[in-house]
């Protein structure tokens, strides 16, 4: 058979190896979910600290954010993978994933996401009118109560579109974990077409995983659109 692109045999080859790709999807989704969760858990307080924290803490958080946002994600992943003394935690069976490698990728993606999510949340907090905080204080609420019951509920709503962007970015950037050999979707795809005599399938494999990434981002974004409209403030614009 003539080597070329888009051959029927290549599609058959991909179909035969669908389970490999599916396991890659599982790792990709796991990495996305844990990184975003870490990013939220750290980014949410980081944004609040930048607005309300004492100046020393706020500037420390701010500096950490600048460093994280200013470092390429591949460099971050390498740094965490080669630089951190992450113990060898063994390999997860079935999905064939080295836990230590996963942790390094999750830390890199999660911390960088925290740096961006923190900015999203900080901006949202600052967009809530000062007057509402004063009104809450003027009925006798403490600053903490006012922030918790008046500022945060509105700031979280306004952060959703920014978080949606973050989700899309993190999901796609899980693919850079190929650099440290994590068995996520792109790594497994590459292993397929690097098999002897399978270099004809490069484009087909890449098209298939592009479609998988697209379906994942599209459906989740639609779900988040729904959450956004479900919790939108009636008559308001956020």
């Amino acid at each position: 058979m003539e080597p070329g692109v888009l051959q029927a045999t290549d599609w058959q080859f991909i179909f035969a190896n669908r389970q490999t790709l599916l396991l890659g999807v599982v790792v990709t989704v796991l990495l996305t979910a844990t990184s975003l969760t870490l990013g939220f858990a750290l980014g949410f307080p980081a944004g609040a600290i930048e607005v309300y924290g004492d100046s020393w803490l706020a500037s420390t958080v701010n500096t950490a954010g600048i460093v994280l946002r200013g470092t390429p994600i591949v460099v971050l992943i390498f740094l965490f993978h080669f630089g951190l003394p992450i113990p060898q935690l063994g390999t997860v069976p079935v999905i064939d994933m080295k836990l230590a490698v996963f942790v390094a990728a999750m830390l890199a993606l999660g911390l960088r996401s925290a740096a961006y999510q923190g900015q999203v949340f900080r901006g949202s907090i600052q967009s809530i009118s000062e007057g509402q905080l004063e009104a809450a204080r003027s009925v006798g609420m403490s600053k903490r109560q006012a922030i918790r019951h008046v500022v945060f509920p509105q700031a979280v709503r306004r952060s959703l579109p920014g978080f949606q962007n973050e989700f899309t970015i993190v999901l796609k950037d899980t693919s850079v974990a190929i650099g440290i050999g994590l068995a996520e979707l792109l790594t497994r795809a590459e292993r397929l077409y690097l098999q002897p005599g399978r270099d004809t399938a490069v484009i087909e494999v890449l098209i298939v995983i592009s479609m998988i990434y697209f379906v994942l981002t599209f459906t989740t974004n639609r779900a988040l659109d729904y959450v956004h409209s479900r919790y939108a403030i009636p008559g308001g614009n956020s």
Binding site: S138, V139, G140
Partner: protein
Amino acid sequence: MSLLRVDNVDKSYGDEPVLNDVSFAMDRQQVEVIVGPSGSGKSTLLRCINRLTEIDSGEIYLDDEEIHSVDENELRRRVGMVFQDFNLFAHLTARGNITLGLREVLGLSTEEANAKADDYLDRVGLADQAKSYPAELSGGQQQRVGIARALAMDPELILFDEPTSALDPELIGEVLTVMEDLAEEGMTMLCVTHEMGFARSAADTITFLDDGEIIERGPPEQLFENPEHDRTRTFLGELTDLNR
């Protein structure tokens, strides 16, 4: 005994003096209107009374207690405030705007808070808007919710900071009506306003503030008909013309 006594209060923002040796006192169930040109320190004076702004020197007594010796949250529960820009909580319904303080500050249960909120919405003529969000209400309705929110905390005194200045002319009346009703019911009110009709009909005392100083203070008839100072006459004359 005065409910509120302001003694020799000074306040400046940086090098800019805003209040200069301001002293006055008001009794319970009195309505006091503060007038003065913009930048004269009216809003600052109100904000010093519930400590949204801190004074530089002087004393302020509520019920013979110096307000800086009282917990600021406790003070603000006792001194309500109505804002020029309403400042309703945008994510809460009209009812939710009122119940938040009732639950968080007074510790009422949800049922008690809802019942009380609905009572006060009824008092300001908004019983049918309990479930509306601020963005769904007109400016006049929003301000009436703002008044209900302050009232529901059972304050001893309510501060009104230009409550009608951000309203379209046709919406001012409904807010003034609510304020006049309150005055009639004996609520103690300290109002910064340019509404001379309200000042004439509802105020017991009018204070003319200019450049951070009280120029003149007295019953409406005196300030409108026989002011001691030319500045008072000029200012009130201009305002009254504007209101026509």
